[in-house]
């Protein structure tokens, strides 16, 4: 894993350096103009956020039922990344929406379920920080419930909102936009895996430290 880190980092850095050029060269979207360019990073971050959430959910499930420390590391790292990348998504989205829809926020299914999921993982991090001993297992249960919850939130808001007129119009991607879009997606997913492994390394050192403290007390 550590051997892969530097090459992947180099590739990701190169992609991020090249991305702005691709984005600028991409065609303008007809109704939204320049503001639509936020979409390339915003949607890629959205994918990375869901990846992080799933990673945390899988890690939590594995940790609850197998008690492996590595699973717990995955759960924590995934949760923290969900929170950070989610912050990016929830800030860049409204910045784009202000121009595209005329409002900063909309209570449609996707936005609401993203917001709720972000809140759940923030709650996860709060619990781990302030919950005291044993909070790793409790937080794992929270992550599991959170993951199971997302489809329900999506479904309920969808049903709720079908009574109201839709104001979102996301056009199908023009051919000129698909290249930059997928380029950005790959770049962000690479970045996500780098950040995930970095954060897991931190967690691994912390667990080592805890064990060392326990060993020191045992003397």
């Amino acid at each position: 894993m550590r051997k892969l880190f530097v090459p992947v980092a180099v590739v990701a850095a190169a992609m991020f350096l090249y991305a702005p050029f691709m984005i600028l060269a991409a065609p303008y979207e007809s109704t939204m103009g320049l503001v639509q360019k936020i979409f390339y990073f915003h949607a890629s971050c959205g994918m990375a956020m869901f990846a992080a959430a799933f990673a945390s959910g899988i890690g939590s499930a594995m940790f609850l039922f197998s008690k492996r420390p590595a699973a717990d590391r995955l759960a924590v790292a995934g949760a923290e990344l969900t929170s950070v990348i989610g912050l990016i998504v929830l800030v860049t989205g409204p910045l784009w929406a202000r121009k595209a829809w005329g409002v900063w926020w909309q209570w449609d299914a996707r936005l609401t379920s993203t917001l709720v999921m972000w809140m759940i993982f923030n709650a996860y991090l709060l619990l781990r920080r302030y919950g005291g001993p044993g909070s790793d297992r409790l937080a794992a249960a929270v992550a599991l419930f959170g993951m199971a919850n997302v489809p329900f939130v999506y479904w309920s808001v969808n049903v709720w909102r079908t009574l109201h007129p839709k104001t979102s119009v996301i056009p199908s991607l023009q051919p000129g936009m698909r290249g930059p879009f997928w380029f950005c997606v790959v770049a962000f997913l690479l970045l996500f895996s780098l950040l995930l492994s970095l954060r897991m390394e931190l967690e691994r050192r912390r667990q080592q430290l805890d064990e060392l403290y326990l060993a020191a007390e045992g003397d």
Partner: protein
């Protein structure tokens, strides 16, 4: 396996009430696992209700809190003597959620204080039975609170909450069950955690968002000038589905979460 120990919940004695742990000398009758499970659940619920019946502390304080909640919202949502549209539905469910959280916190605080949760965990009861017993106790408590709060909301907000009573009761039951199912699990697992008072709402509200949405929209559908019954039934079925999924999930995770 020693039959006296494995079936200790079912020892039949005429004089004393059935206790959870029994000395080996007690008589033993063979009962099916289902009956044993059901009896464990019943015993736990009965214990909770008995303790509560003596002081009625949680019941009274929760009712009072729910009523104050409704009152405070009335100040915000009643304009010139008329309530804002759909306010009644939202306020009802917010009051249920807030007072439910309070009741859950208090109920498990009592367990922590008496160290009884630990005793229950050590006792030879199936963990799922423990969870269901506690859930049933909380449900009965919340039902008692709702019996008072729902007519109060109907009164204060001039809402026709009883025009379709069966659907309304169904929505309330399914919604309260969904809320309590998640709440019981989280409250139980937070018993030994730090900052448990603030952690319970922090964890509970995001996860019970679908329950609140479905409950409020279902109730609002019933309260609309021309009651939208198919819509209310749709929300009710969503609530039932949510309940099934989350009670199952809670039963599944209760064991690994509660063990040391």
């Amino acid at each position: 396996m020693n039959p006296a120990l494995s079936k200790s919940g079912q020892v039949v004695e005429e004089s004393a009430p059935p206790a959870i742990e029994q000395p080996a000398a007690a008589r033993v009758t063979r009962v099916s696992p289902v009956t044993r499970f059901a009896r464990s659940v019943f015993e736990i619920t009965r214990k909770d209700l008995l303790v509560e019946a003596r002081t009625r502390e949680i019941l009274y304080t929760t009712i009072f809190f729910a009523v104050s909640c409704v009152m405070v919202f009335a100040f915000g949502f009643v304009r010139e003597g008329r309530p804002v549209q759909d306010a009644a539905a939202g306020i009802l469910w917010i009051a249920i959620a807030f007072s439910g959280t309070l009741a859950l916190g208090r109920a498990f605080e009592r367990e922590r204080h008496g160290e009884t949760l630990r005793a229950l965990l050590i006792a030879p009861i199936d963990r799922p039975a423990l969870y269901l017993g506690k859930l049933l106790g909380i449900l009965i408590l919340l039902a008692a609170v709702e019996v008072l709060v729902v007519p109060l909301v109907a009164l204060m907000f001039q809402a026709a909450l009883f025009s379709h009573a069966l659907l309304m009761i169904g929505l309330l039951a399914a919604g309260t069950l969904g809320f309590a199912a998640v709440g019981t699990l989280f409250a139980a697992m937070l018993v030994r955690a730090r900052s448990r008072d603030v952690m319970l709402p922090v964890l509970l509200y995001p996860i019970t968002v679908p329950v609140i949405i479905a409950g409020v929209r279902g109730t609002a559908a019933l309260l609309a000038p021309e009651a939208d019954l198919p819509m209310a039934r749709a929300w009710l079925s969503m609530l039932v589905f949510f309940d099934v999924v989350f009670v199952t999930l809670a039963l599944w995770t209760f064991e690994p979460v509660m063990t040391e």
